[in-house]
């Protein structure tokens, strides 16, 4: 024991998932160099299990109905941040009219990052392609031009620099999920690692 050592305040607030502490700032986590994605070549692609593709350019994304969710976010490295406000396009809007029988998606990013989620978790007003944070364009270090925002799961599922989602019949583990992290990642059930 280290006499007098407390570490970062670990909140016992009932409204935080277990093992999380509150932070006021917005830590930057990255597993690699920050990709620079010019808006005139940016695109978002949904690829179905049959290979059909649905594409949006930046201008086309901005022309879709926009939403401004205010949500709490929870990082698996144990920080949580309250009441963050974003602007983006709901995945319900993007998936509307996409013909698929798949149950899972693998999101993929500029720079090569991937993460897997059940398709149902992208539906029902719970997931967005977000391009604006607190009223300003999303900074590149936080995933701009656009990132996935799925705040009910640990934040590594909210892929930065998102480029598209691939619809898959089976759950295909992504960048962290193949290296020990949980395939679903529910912070309220503390699903950090495989088997949790």
């Amino acid at each position: 024991m280290s006499p007098g050592f407390q570490g970062r305040p670990r909140s016992a607030e009932p409204a935080l998932p277990p093992g999380q502490y509150l932070t006021q700032d917005f830590p930057v986590l990255s597993a690699g160099p920050t990709p620079k994605v010019p808006l005139d070549t940016w695109e978002f692609v949904i690829t179905t299990e049959t290979g059909a593709e649905y594409r949006w350019s930046w201008d086309e994304l901005m022309a879709l109905p926009q939403e401004t969710p205010t949500v709490d976010i929870h990082c698996v490295t144990r920080w949580s941040k309250r009441d963050t406000t974003w602007q983006g396009v709901s995945l319900d809007t993007l998936l509307d009219g996409v013909d698929t029988g798949a149950h899972y998606v693998q999101a993929h990013s500029y720079g090569g990052y991937t993460t897997n989620l059940p398709l149902d978790d992208l539906r029902g007003g719970r997931a967005w392609v977000a391009h604006t944070f607190e009223g300003a364009p999303l900074p590149a270090e936080h995933g701009g031009p656009a990132r996935l925002l799925v705040p009910h799961l640990y934040f590594w599922k909210s892929a930065k620099w998102v480029r598209g989602i691939r619809l898959t019949p089976t759950d295909e583990p992504g960048f962290w999920e193949t290296a020990g992290y949980h395939d679903y990642g529910d912070p309220w059930r503390e699903q950090r690692y495989q088997g949790d």
Binding site: S30, A31, G32, P33, Y193
Partner: protein, 97 residues
């Protein structure tokens, strides 16, 4: 802005020595993506992340991923085709099989 958020492969030594008895930071690794052979100590390590990510300094391909939970560790080396580990000459070795 240039990206300066990485560290050297030197820092992998402590975490890897939890798993292995040899000091892998003095080993060389070959990048699966670009073929470059170089010291693991020369990898660019991104540590502000859910795990440690070691990238090739030449092509930035991912050569190593290390995730540590309280009771388990995962080491993913699929981006490295081999590790070349210096061995002391005075140890008997089996020769080619």
């Amino acid at each position: 802005m240039t990206d300066m958020s990485y560290l050297d492969g030197n820092m992998l030594d402590g975490p890897l020595r939890e798993l292995f008895a040899v000091d892998l930071s003095t080993a060389s690794g070959r990048c699966e993506n670009c073929g470059m052979l170089g010291p693991m100590a020369g990898l660019r390590v991104y540590s502000h992340a859910p795990g440690l990510v070691g990238r090739c300094p030449n092509c930035s391909g991912v050569m190593l991923r290390l995730v540590r939970s309280p009771d388990r560790a995962w080491l993913d080396l699929r981006g490295s085709t081999y590790l070349q580990v210096p061995m002391p000459l005075d140890q008997p070795h089996p020769g080619p099989l």
